[in-house]
C-alpha cells in the first residue's frame, strides 16, 4: 500500500506535512549530513530581519526538564544575505521555503514581504513572527500588542498575495481570540506555538542561567500546551495550522495531525536527534499503512472528542 502524504493548504501543495520549525535547523545545510533536506515538506527559516541582528549576550541556552530555554534574540544576517546566500541553495535543492520574518515596525515587515514576494516559487509562503522581543517591547499590555499585530497583518496582506502564516505565542494572551482577529486581518493560516517565556536559576552562581534572564521554553515539556492551542484554535476557526511544540517522534506528530494540524514542524528535536525529521516522516507513513490510511487527510482532524 502506498500512502499519499501530499498536503494542500489553500492553493499550495506540500509533498508531505513534515516541516522544520523556525530557528532550529540552521540557515542552510547544517543538517545535510544527517537528513536529505529535499525530502522535507518544507523548511521554515530562522527569523529574517531587514538588517542583521547580533542577538543576545551569552549564555543563551540552558537545559530544563523535558526541554530547553533559549534567548538567541533573533540573531540573523539580515535580508540581503538571505536573498544572496540562502535562497539559491534551497532553489538548487528544490526545497520549498516558508520564510519567517520579523521587524521592529510594520515597515520592516512590509519591506521583507515585498522582497520575498519576488522570490516565489522557492519561497512558498511567509510566517510572520509576532512573538519577537521587539514587537513585544513595543506594546504595553495585551490590547496594544494585539492592535499592532493586526496592523502589521493588514499591511503585509496588502503587499503580497502569498500565503501568510501568523506565528503566535501563548504569551500574547487569549490565542483563540487573536487567531480569529489575525485571520480576519488577512492571515491565511496560523503557526502554533512559539515558545513559552521561562527562566532558570544557577543556584551555585546565584544568577539566572541566561544572560537575558528569561528565554523561550521549547521541547516536549510544552507539547501539551501546544496541542491544546491547536485543538482550541481549530475548533474556533477552521484555518490551516502549522503545529509545533515538542514534536520528537512520529507519535507526537500524529497527535497534532489528528488534532487537525495541516503541517507539523519539528523544532528542538533536531538538536537532540538530527535525523528526527525523516524518522518522523517514515513513522507517519508506517502508521498510515498500519491503519489503512491511504491519504494523510484521512488522518487529519480524525480525533474523536
Amino acid at each position: 500500500m502506498k500512502v499519499d502524504l501530499t498536503t494542500k493548504i489553500g492553493h499550495l501543495t506540500f509533498r508531505n506535512p513534515v516541516a522544520v520549525a523556525s530557528g532550529t535547523f540552521g540557515t542552510k545545510d547544517e543538517y545535510a549530513s544527517f537528513v536529505d533536506i529535499r525530502k522535507l515538506g518544507a523548511v521554515i527559516t530562522k527569523t529574517i530581519t531587514v538588517k542583521p541582528r547580533a542577538g543576545n549576550p551569552m549564555p543563551r541556552i540552558c537545559e530544563t526538564s523535558g526541554g530547553m530555554l533559549n534567548a538567541i534574540g533573533l540573531q540573523n544576517k539580515g535580508l540581503e544575505d538571505f536573498l544572496e546566500h540562502k535562497i539559491p541553495y534551497f532553489k538548487k535543492i528544490n526545497t520549498p521555503l516558508i520564510v519567517n520574518i520579523a521587524g521592529e515596525d510594520s515597515g520592516d515587515f512590509v519591506t521583507l514581504a515585498r522582497a520575498l514576494h519576488e522570490r516565489q516559487p522557492v519561497v512558498k509562503a511567509l510566517e510572520l513572527n509576532f512573538s519577537c522581543p521587539n514587537v513585544e517591547a513595543g506594546g504595553a499590555g495585551h490590547m496594544r500588542k494585539t492592535e499592532r499585530i493586526l496592523e502589521i497583518m493588514r499591511l503585509v496582506r496588502e503587499t503580497t498575495d502569498m500565503t501568510l502564516f501568523a506565528k503566535l505565542s501563548p504569551e500574547l494572551g487569549d490565542v483563540v481570540e487573536i487567531a480569529k482577529a489575525v485571520t480576519a486581518a488577512g492571515a491565511d493560516g496560523l503557526s502554533l506555538i512559539n515558545t513559552l517565556k521561562g527562566m532558570a536559576v544557577d543556584i551555585a552562581k546565584r544568577r539566572p542561567k541566561l544572560a537575558n534572564i528569561t528565554g523561550g521554553l521549547s521541547g516536549p515539556a510544552i507539547k501539551p500546551v501546544a496541542l491544546r492551542y491547536v485543538y482550541e484554535v481549530k475548533k474556533a476557526c477552521p484555518v490551516p495550522v502549522i503545529a509545533m511544540g515538542g514534536i520528537l517522534t512520529a507519535a507526537d506528530a500524529i497527535e497534532f495531525l489528528m488534532t487537525g494540524a495541516d503541517l507539523v514542524a519539528v523544532g528542538t528535536a533536531n538538536f537532540v536527534n538530527p535525523g528526527a525529521t525523516l524518522e518522523i516522516l517514515e513513522g507517519i507513513e508506517a502508521y498510515c499503512k498500519a491503519n489503512k490510511i491511504s491519504q494523510i487527510s484521512e488522518l487529519r482532524g480524525s480525533l474523536n472528542v
Binding site: 540552521g26 549530513s33 542577538g55
Partner: protein
C-alpha cells in the same frame, strides 16, 4: 563526514579520583579524527532525561574504530554516563568541530596547558604530535592520571596541584611561567584547554609575551552543528558558533 550512530559501550570505568574513561568502537565516528574535535552524546537514548546531548572531546580515536572519552562526573548528564555499564547503548554524533593545529610551522615548540575537562584533548594532541611540554593543573594528587594514561604522550609532562600534594604547588600558570623563563617566549606555540579562568590567564600571558597559540573553548551546546546559535563566541570577525568554527580558536581571533 559527520554521522549519528548508536554505539555499544565496551568499557566505562573510573580512572582516578576525578576521571572516568569510556570506550566504544565505531569506524565512521573515528575516521579522520584529529585532536580537538568532539562528539555530541545522547546519554540516555530513548529517554527524555537528560534532554540535551553532552559534548565530549575525543580522548583517543584509532583507525580500528576504537574511540575513548575521558570525562568528569560533574552534573546530571555525566553522572548518568558514569553509571553506564558495558553493553549499554549511547547515541553519538561526530566528528564535530575544528581540531587543534597539528604540524607547526617554523619548528615552534609546542606547550600544552591543560586543566579539568580540557586534559583529554590535549593528551590526544600530545600523543599524535610531538610537543615540548604538557602542563596539567589539578587540585590534588588524587586527580593525577595514572602513568598508563600518559604512556604514549610525546611530551614532558609536568603537574601542578593547588595543594602541592603532587608536582609544583599552585596554579598551572606557574608552570607555564617557569617554562617561559626557561625557554624564552621566542619560538613557543601554546595550545590550551580547561576552565575559562585558566585559559584567560594563559591567553593574557601569551598576549603579553606575543606568543601565538590556540584555545579550545568550553561553551554550553545544544545542536553541535551550528544550527541553534547557542554556543556563540565573540571573535574578531563577529559572533561565530563554537561548535563549527571552534571549539579551537587562535588567540588572535578570540575577543575576551
Amino acid at each position: 563526514m559527520m554521522v549519528d550512530l548508536e554505539v555499544k559501550i565496551e568499557a566505562n570505568e573510573r580512572v582516578n579520583g576525578k576521571y572516568y574513561r569510556l570506550v566504544f568502537r565505531s569506524k565512521p565516528l573515528a575516521k579522520g579524527v584529529l585532536p580537538g574535535q568532539f562528539l555530541n552524546v545522547q546519554i540516555n537514548p530513548g529517554s527524555g532525561d537528560p534532554f540535551l546531548r553532552r559534548p565530549f572531546s575525543y580522548y583517543r580515536a584509532a583507525p580500528s574504530g576504537r574511540i575513548e572519552i575521558l570525562y568528569e562526573a560533574l552534573g546530571k548528564g555525566t553522572s548518568a554516563l558514569a553509571r553506564k555499564k558495558k553493553g549499554d547503548v549511547l547515541k553519538v554524533m561526530g566528528p564535530l568541530g575544528k581540531p587543534f593545529t597539528g604540524r607547526l610551522e617554523g619548528g615552534r615548540k609546542r606547550v600544552l596547558v591543560a586543566g579539568g575537562v580540557g586534559v583529554p584533548p590535549l593528551i590526544f594532541l600530545a600523543e599524535q604530535f610531538p610537543s615540548a611540554y604538557l602542563l596539567i593543573g589539578a587540585k590534588s594528587k588524587k586527580e593525577v592520571l595514572p602513568k598508563k594514561q600518559l604512556a604514549l604522550v610525546k611530551a614532558k609532562v609536568l603537574y601542578s596541584t593547588d595543594d602541592g600534594s603532587y608536582g609544583r604547588k599552585g596554579l598551572v600558570t606557574r608552570l607555564f611561567e617557569d617554562i617561559l623563563r626557561r625557554e624564552g617566549p621566542g619560538d613557543l606555540f601554546i595550545q590550551t584547554c580547561g576552565p575559562m579562568a585558566m585559559m584567560r590567564a594563559v591567553i593574557e600571558i601569551a598576549r603579553r609575551e606575543k606568543i601565538p597559540g590556540e584555545a579550545s573553548l568550553d561553551k554550553t551546546m545544544a545542536c553541535g552543528v551550528g544550527a541553534c546559535l547557542g554556543c556563540m563566541v565573540e571573535t574578531t570577525d563577529g559572533l561565530v558558533p563554537s561548535c563549527t568554527e571552534g571549539p579551537v580558536f587562535g588567540f588572535e581571533r578570540i575577543r575576551l
